[in-house]
Subunit: 356 residues, 2 copies
DNA sequence: CACTATACTGCACACGTGTGCACGGGCTTG
DNA sequence: CAAGCCCGTGCACACGTGTGCAGTATAGTG
């Protein structure tokens, strides 16, 4: 047999397959497959010869075919609200690190808080037969949730705290309610009595929990919440909404009520509030205290640095991914809620007219 | 034949296939396949019956099998430096939108500016037989680049401006050199003569271009660049580097040289510089002017708002993705360089001791 | 009525990989 | 020397889908 001088004469567009290697080596594709997997069934000489040949021919296994045969894709679908959302970004980073360490690829899609689109994305994941799904946006309700369980795809939610459904759905959350409580307690301790809330309309679940924590904490302190203290960003075209702009737009409407402090749904809203204050010539924290939520990088860089609630965003992502891997291995897993903590910086101070 | 009362008696874990439908309908899987594709070959009655049956049985086509058969995955691999990088985030958003509109899924991976890891990621993409690759991080050189072309995967680079290789590699870039020129020209026009540069070590290509623009512009103005005016963040553990921290750490070393203005590689570096100034009690822009690069959201929110070079980040992403789609359709495409523009805010002003 | 055209469906193979089973040959052993 | 055993390899099928081609039944036409 002449040593074939050029294996890919035709330079076909297709990458080389094990069949191609088999033909050149004069064996069956089964032998090649086993040889490349270092199977003991194949004689050491043949094994090495084939491995070298594969190397020389530039063989790369076809993961698509392997997925079809093996009934697993080593792929996880990931839905987030928006790339621009720094909370999501941080969580994705945690997810990505664990995924990469376990040789799992990530399919990323963005829902822009649109339940319909989120469901389309999940259908796509299902078609692609991902091994599992992580959702950091979950707006799904009723029929959609039912459809999701029907697909029997292992799913982990981040910051969802599924209201009632407990069966097949797992989640990892940060304690929204307690975070709000800590934030408001801090303001109360500083001496504030009239405390406002700036929320969002398109993240119903988490907004509701933080708002509940806000209300309950005030009530517990013997303060009746005034409707004038509360503003929620309109849901309208919730696509592509910019939280900073919303915060900036909402703050002025709050001032006539005489609030001396504002608790915001997240740091972007808080930054928007800061921007509005600068425009209006309101000094923070001297004339108005502002507390954010999330502890995004940005919170450290604005003036004044933001007092906020720190969420373990990276950790949330890591745990979510690890939890999904555990589910895939059949290990028992348990949904959990992580604690959050107050980070005191310089955007909150005692009210000007000391209430003491 | 008794009308099967329950199609999935066994409730097998596998999703239903066209074969399952065929069995129930009493036809061959070929007929089902054609019926679901609305083929004219199948009689309208059968077609409708099968489609209803598929619906009822909760059929979802297996994209893995379709990919294997059809030799295309409708998937694009995406490599970026870091999710935390706001530039990348914005570009990814543009990419994602175009991808979603064209029913293409995104496989996302993070390289942390490590060429070796970037190559591993690309190998993974190749194994998964993605239709194409977009890289917004490209640190690839020599052997790696050669291997990449060997794989014959259509590839588009963002902000790479491949130095020499022109063949199979496409790219879409923003004009780094001109951006630096605009930034420095602005400072010169304000009256500055001693202008510093804060750069990065782990993004060699773009840093070199911006630095070149900086040097040439100063030279053209008859100013000799002093080595003391320049600091480059160490490459060392380039993984997980934080630009803001680097900027914050580098600025003090620049001051003894007497510079009255600083041009920074990007906005994060500039923000770091701002933080350092705040610590040292240096007023910006009164005592020191700072100019950033990228025009990240953050640039608007810091104090003072950052004068910076605006890159069309979203547009870069959109174009890159569209370019890749064009390549896949066999259309002729051409690499291009987008213009950038100066955004004047409040971080740069004439030097204290008017040079006029 | 016979022949042909037409409409519809099934067979068989392909995509690339993995694996249970059978088979051939060489060696050992009684 | 014959029988049994083990090592190495190939056959054939599976995963789920798509499609060229052949085949069958019906309708249409002379």
């Amino acid at each position: 047999m002449t040593t074939a001088p050029d294996h890919n004469k035709i330079t076909s567009r297709r990458p080389v397959s094990i069949q191609d290697i088999a033909t050149v080596a004069g064996v069956s594709h089964s032998t090649v497959s086993r040889a490349l997997h270092n199977s003991e069934l194949i004689s050491p000489e043949v094994r090495q010869r084939i491995q070298q040949l594969a190397q020389a021919m530039g063989y790369t296994p076809n993961a698509v075919a392997q997925s079809l045969k093996g009934q697993r894709t080593d792929t996880v679908g990931l839905v987030i609200t928006s790339i621009a959302d720094p909370f999501a970004g941080r969580a994705v980073r945690g997810i990505e690190e664990v995924a990469q360490a376990n040789h799992v690829s990530l399919l990323l899609s963005v829902s822009h808080n649109d339940p319909e689109r989120e469901m389309e994305i999940i259908e796509t994941f299902h078609r692609r037969r991902v091994d599992g799904v992580i959702s950091a946006t979950a707006q799904l309700r009723g029929a959609y949730l039912q459809r999701l369980t029907q697909m029997k795809m292992p799913t982990v939610f981040i910051n969802q705290q599924a209201d009632s459904e407990a069966d097949r759905l797992h989640s990892v959350d940060a304690d929204d309610y307690d975070g709000a409580r800590q934030a408001v307690s801090h303001l109360l301790a500083l001496g504030h009595r009239k405390i406002g809330y700036l929320g969002v309309g398109n993240r119903a679940q988490s907004n509701r929990r933080r708002f509940a924590g806000y209300c309950d904490t005030l009530s517990a302190a013997g303060i009746a919440v005034d409707a004038q203290w509360v503003r929620i960003a309109p849901t309208m075209n919730n696509l592509r909404a910019d939280d900073v702009l919303d915060g900036q737009a909402m703050l002025p409407a709050l001032l006539p009520s005489g609030v001396t402090a504002v608790f915001c749904y997240n740091d972007q809203i808080a930054v928007g509030a800061l921007m509005a204050c600068r425009e209006l010539g309101i000094a923070v924290p001297e004339q108005l205290s502002v507390v954010g939520y999330d502890d995004v990088d940005l919170a450290r860089y604005v003036t004044p640095p933001l007092t906020t609630i720190h969420q373990p965003k990276l950790r949330l992502g890591e745990i979510a991914m690890q939890m999904l891997l555990d589910i895939l291995e059949g290990k028992p897993v348990q949904s959990l809620i992580l604690p959050v903590e107050l980070v005191v910086r310089q955007s909150a101070a005692p009210p000007r007219t000391g209430a003491m």
